[in-house]
Symmetry: C2
Subunit: 241 residues, 2 copies
């Protein structure tokens, strides 16, 4: 091997290649009126449950599909299908995050045409893309989504934004999950929502933050309303010449 300079060049080319693919995929989905939502966060932070509850809470008539990514297994896809939600499971082997090519392949399986880049009326209105459970790498690889969302759950602790700043800078929305853990003070150590918000706003002043519990339903109306507005915005833009 020729040492580090070669490695860095290949890395940059790879990143740039994915940025281009993600840009094209994102533009194509937007042009067709589909709102793709990329959900990122640690294993067990509540991504799958958030998708289930959000899909249930969106107005009837919005056609929702899901892309589930895991290193292995089809557990989450089976959870979705059990609820009657159309789902494609991506298995990445050991790969630690989705990229735009993998997402495009999943969208193709959902009927969006070759590489997800087809044209005409889209088969689905909102597509949730559940990324690999990983608070680090997923933030470094755009997938072509119209909205990139980070999740952070109560039991993970309130010190995560400064420890994982790449994610908290990248996401356009932050969903705090498992808010019902507050009913058990001391169980998970302190979780100071205001402190988290302050940390995240320093990294990312425009971020939208939602404090939710899928169990109690707290905060879910605001989150779903925000998502619905995002979808309507995509549709509106499509109608304009």
């Amino acid at each position: 091997m020729n040492g580090e300079p070669t490695i860095i060049e290949v890395g940059e080319a790879l990143f740039a290649d994915n940025e281009r693919r993600a840009f094209s995929l994102g533009a194509s989905l937007r042009d067709r009126g589909t709102f793709a939502v990329n959900l990122m966060g640690s294993p067990g932070c509540g991504k799958t449950t958030l998708i289930e509850r959000t899909a249930e809470g969106l107005p009837a008539g919005i056609r929702v599909a899901v892309v589930e990514a895991d290193l292995a297994s089809s557990l989450d896809a089976r959870r979705m299908e059990a609820r009657g939600i159309r789902c494609v499971q991506l298995n990445t082997g050991g790969y630690c995050h989705l990229d735009a090519a993998m997402t495009g392949a999943a969208l193709e399986a959902l009927g969006f045409g070759p590489g997800g880049l087809g044209s005409g009326d889209p088969p689905w209105d909102i597509v949730f893309i559940e990324n690999i459970g990983n608070l680090v790498c997923t933030a470094q690889s755009p997938v072509g989504a119209g909205l990139d969302v980070a999740l952070l759950s109560r039991p993970e602790g309130d010190d995560k934004p400064f420890k994982y700043p790449v994610m908290f800078r990248y996401a356009r929305a932050l969903v705090l999950t498992k808010r019902d853990y507050d009913d058990y003070p001391g169980l998970s150590g302190p979780f100071d929502v205001d402190a988290v918000a302050r940390q995240v706003m320093l990294l990312n002043p425009a971020v939208r933050i939602f404090d939710t519990s899928c169990r109690s339903g707290a905060g879910m109306a605001e989150w779903i309303s925000f998502l619905h507005a995002g979808y309507r915005d995509v549709v509106e833009r499509r109608r304009r010449p």
Copy 2:
């Protein structure tokens, strides 16, 4: 860029290079009588707290030092120093896991000589290496430890071994954390310890599993005793010609 074949070659070279470094570092530490313990798991799974409680529980006279890795911040190093535990903080920027070169640099800062590869009596007996919070990538990059440990916390859910098999195959010990969450049935969804154990044993029949709570102390004596035995084994082997 020349496409995927080049990328794969570089990747393999990189992996092979780290494997060699990790092998050398691990052999050097073992020869000097130091037991290095690599702790891997999701953000917020309890790695830092487990190190704190384990360090307190080990017999007096064993000199414990810690390497803390985060993308950014020195929060965990400050936690350790507040307890009087010698600690070196590694900040990786955006890098998603430790490798043997980074670990060697931290060990050098702890007095183990250049690249951690010095000789003679070691400055520390047990070194805990807290890897980046990442259940995927850390399992693909050995750091030269004498023991690789995976952590899985109750709130992450009991479906993780099949979803993240790379980690559960790689680790030689699995520490289940936050066992005290069982006192709040239904809070985190089901966590079937036997099911987790069955999944992990299928992937990794020789793995040792510990079911612990740092809050209640449950299971900690077995875990600490296992670690202590691992350390004594390193010391015994050193004495033999």
